[in-house]
């Protein structure tokens, strides 16, 4: 059962949404920490431009496209949820989850290709950052997909529709992180 505390919303933001904003706030500094560290090294070493040139831009672009699309379906799911259409929300959430899975699959192929060409996490510090930052992000994607499936299952039965928006916000944040990872790791060469 939910405690009364959970049902109050003095700040004007529903509790769950407020919490997810705080989650995102703390995630910003986690990704911020590693991206700032990467950025400093990237600017310090001219050589890293050459290292970066071995990443395949179009794969990164494809993944960006996938994530943007999944974000769209996530927000459409929220629209359905607002109108009380649980099954519709669930359907769109499943599309989003599928997008997440595609993202992970593409990434795994990409990494296989790079590793097989000798660009491993220990090749040099650029690749260390590449795999660490992208890997950290990929973990968030996977976590998001799992939660999304749970929320979708409930939404299908029309339960906990407010959660559709919560997972949506989280998913958009994951998308946002990638929007910055993409130019940092792929485009800047």
């Amino acid at each position: 059962m939910r405690p009364i505390a959970n049902t109050r919303s003095v700040s004007g933001v529903p509790t769950a949404r407020l919490a997810v904003w705080w989650v995102i706030a703390s995630e910003i500094v986690i990704f911020g920490g590693i991206l700032m560290s990467y950025l400093m090294h990237r600017l310090a070493h001219g050589l890293w431009a050459d290292y970066a040139s071995h990443t395949t831009t179009w794969v990164g672009a494809l993944n960006t496209f996938v994530l943007l699309t999944s974000s769209l379906s996530a927000v459409l799911a929220h629209k359905c949820a607002v109108n009380g259409d649980g099954p519709g929300a669930a359907k769109r959430l499943l599309i989003t989850a599928a997008g997440g899975l595609i993202f992970v699959v593409v990434k795994s192929f990409e990494w296989t290709y790079e590793i097989s060409h000798g660009y491993t996490i220990t090749t040099n510090t650029f690749w260390s950052f590449y795999y660490t930052a992208a890997g950290l992000h990929a973990l968030h994607v996977i976590a998001g997909v799992v939660i999304m499936l749970i929320v979708a299952a409930a939404a299908k039965k029309g339960r906990d529709l407010h959660r559709v928006e919560i997972i949506g916000i989280y998913w958009h944040f994951v998308d946002l992180v990638w929007i910055f990872l993409f130019p940092l790791l792929y485009i800047a060469k």
């Binding site: 405690p3 109050r8 560290s37």
Partner: protein
């Protein structure tokens, strides 16, 4: 009153759950608070035992320490490292933020539980796991990590330097888990405080201690991220063979120092603020005074919080950062002394015109101010870059931060524990034993660390297992001082048994504590003692601020927040 009805409903749902759900996998914030409290105290005993072991080694080098054994250089390093880590991450954090936060926030805000009880439970279990993980590192080949609690690479990054191939990784993992636990807890605290206040409770009606715990949680959330990322990077350096912190492969060891201290300095305030909050409540109650300039206190605390993000590099003045940066950080560091000084002034001003009764909690609270002042002022020596060139990494630093962390983690905890013990366990504590324990802790504490200031000024530096290799530090006078400090430590530890005896005796005792033994105003004293699941018979409504003591319009000298005018 719809709320009230549903609370009663919630009671019925939760009528006598089985032991395991009531005491082990409980989602009730009060039980989780107790779990945090006792886990923290247990870790505290372990940390204290480590202190005992290495202080004995320092006083009597090479001796076979009773109950411990020989303290070799490797063992000494892992002892000091884990003493620091445990005392900060597994004692100060869980007891001050998690335990008191969990217990006080819902009660003081007049709601029935945290907003996310299950996340709350999850947070505790991750924390417990992290504690277990850390302790396992003492039993792996190579022993526990010995690179100081700051874990500067390359020493912490490469097994061939640290000689603790597994210990250092276990340390990183444990710290990472602990951070995740407190992120979950912090989100819970902040959300509860922002969203679940009792009807009628405006921002300025929130008890200072809740404000402080919430601000501390926010500081933690905003500062820990880079270190979490750094911990991941360090772990990869250790186990995968990356070179984030290896200068010869394009990394930079200084980066870790910044990642660490960007968190490490706000962390000081993360643990300081709750202790200050507890002190504020106790002092107001036992001097029957309204807190002096509540709003100023609040603004000052915010200022401290923001400033605390701009001072971290004063830990690295001589650690190889660019000297030009040190000037900026000197200025910010001395700036932060202003709000902290102001807070101390406020507390002193609160005493003015009061009617002070020196109960055990009050003694602890007052001693917090008296000793924390020493910790605060000695910080100025270290914040002033010019003087820090000499003082850095000496026992002066050590004594300084023990004069901040001991008041925070030990004195603050005891102040809060003895103050809220009736509410937590429904029994009063024995005042006489409490006072014995107080004097038996506070006098030896000063006897331990005042001499260490002297040793520090005399040039004795930290993390040396035996000073005989430094002719200037091996003089008999200095050795005599070390022995004195160690003996004082033994005395202080001995007196802690009085406390545990007092706890058990009071807990066993027959007569129940009244609902509001101290005649305090805040909402937790409105709840029955001890509070049942759901806390309040009827969720309270708030009409006034938390510190309306000795109000001229009333003949009682207190005015509970929930009493209609």
């Amino acid at each position: 009153m719809a709320e009230t009805i549903s609370t009663h409903a919630s009671h019925d749902e939760h009528h006598d759950p089985s032991f395991i759900w009531k005491y082990v996998f409980s989602t009730d914030h009060k039980m989780i608070a107790k779990q945090y409290m006792f886990t923290g105290m247990a870790m505290g005993l372990i940390g204290a035992f480590m202190a005992y072991a290495f202080r004995m080694q320092l006083a009597f080098p090479g001796m076979d320490v009773p109950l411990f054994g020989l303290v070799t250089p490797a063992v000494y390093n892992s002892l000091v490292t884990n003493h620091g880590t445990i005392m900060i991450f597994w004692v100060a954090m869980p007891v001050l933020i998690a335990a008191f936060g969990n217990f006080l926030i819902p009660l003081m805000l007049g709601c029935d539980d945290m907003v996310f009880p299950r996340i709350n439970m999850l947070s505790y279990w991750i924390f417990l796991l992290s504690a277990v993980v850390l302790l396992t590192s003492f039993f792996v080949p190579g022993g526990a990590f010995g690179g100081a609690w700051t874990a500067y690479p390359p020493l912490s990054a490469k097994a061939e330097y640290s000689l603790t191939p597994l210990g250092s990784s276990i340390w990183v993992v444990a710290v990472g888990l602990e951070f995740i636990a407190f992120l979950l807890g912090g989100i819970n605290f902040v959300t509860t405080a922002m969203n679940s206040r009792a009807p009628g409770m405006r921002l300025y009606d929130i008890p200072i201690v809740v404000w402080m715990i919430v601000i501390a949680s926010i500081l933690f959330m905003a500062s820990v991220g880079p270190l979490l990322a750094g911990a991941a990077m360090l772990f990869m350096d250790q186990q995968v063979g990356t070179a984030f912190f290896d200068p010869n492969k394009g990394g930079d060891p200084i980066l870790w120092q910044h990642l660490f201290w960007f968190f490490g300095h706000p962390e000081v305030y993360v643990v300081l603020l709750p202790a200050l909050g507890i002190t504020a409540d106790v002092i107001c109650t036992f001097s029957r005074k309204k807190l002096f300039a509540y709003r100023t206190v609040l603004m000052t605390t915010f200022a401290t919080g923001v400033l605390s993000f701009t001072v971290w590099a004063h830990h690295q003045f001589v650690a190889g950062i660019d000297p030009r940066m040190a000037n900026i950080f000197t200025i910010t560091t001395l700036l932060i002394s202003v709000p902290i000084a102001e807070l101390c002034f406020v507390y002193i001003a609160t005493l003015y015109g009061g009617s002070i009764s020196l109960t055990t909690p009050m003694l602890w609270a007052l001693s917090f101010i008296a000793t924390f002042l020493i910790g605060g002022v000695t910080g100025i020596f270290l914040g002033a870059s010019g003087a820090d060139i000499y003082m850095h990494d000496t026992y002066f630093v050590l004594a300084h931060f023990h004069y901040t962390f001991y008041p925070i983690a030990i004195i603050g905890t005891f102040a809060g524990f003895t103050y809220w013990f009736p509410k937590m366990f429904g029994k009063m504590m024995d005042e006489r034993l409490g006072k014995i324990h107080f004097w038996g802790s506070i006098i030896p504490f000063n006897a331990i660390f005042i001499p260490l200031f002297y040793l520090g000024v005399a040039g004795q530096h930290r993390r040396i297992f035996d000073f005989s290799n430094y002719p200037e530090l091996a003089t008999p006078e200095m050795q005599a001082i070390r022995i004195f400090a160690t003996v004082s430590l033994l005395v202080m530890l001995a007196f802690q048994f009085v406390f545990f005896y007092n706890c058990i005796k009071s807990w066993m005792s027959k007569e129940k504590a009244p609902d509001n033994p101290w005649k305090a105003n805040t909402l937790e004293w409105v709840a029955p003692t001890p509070p049942p699941h759901g806390n309040f018979k009827e969720l309270p409504t708030v009409y006034r601020g938390p510190y309306e003591f000795s109000h001229p319009d009333r003949d009682e000298d207190y005015w509970p927040q929930n009493e209609p005018a």
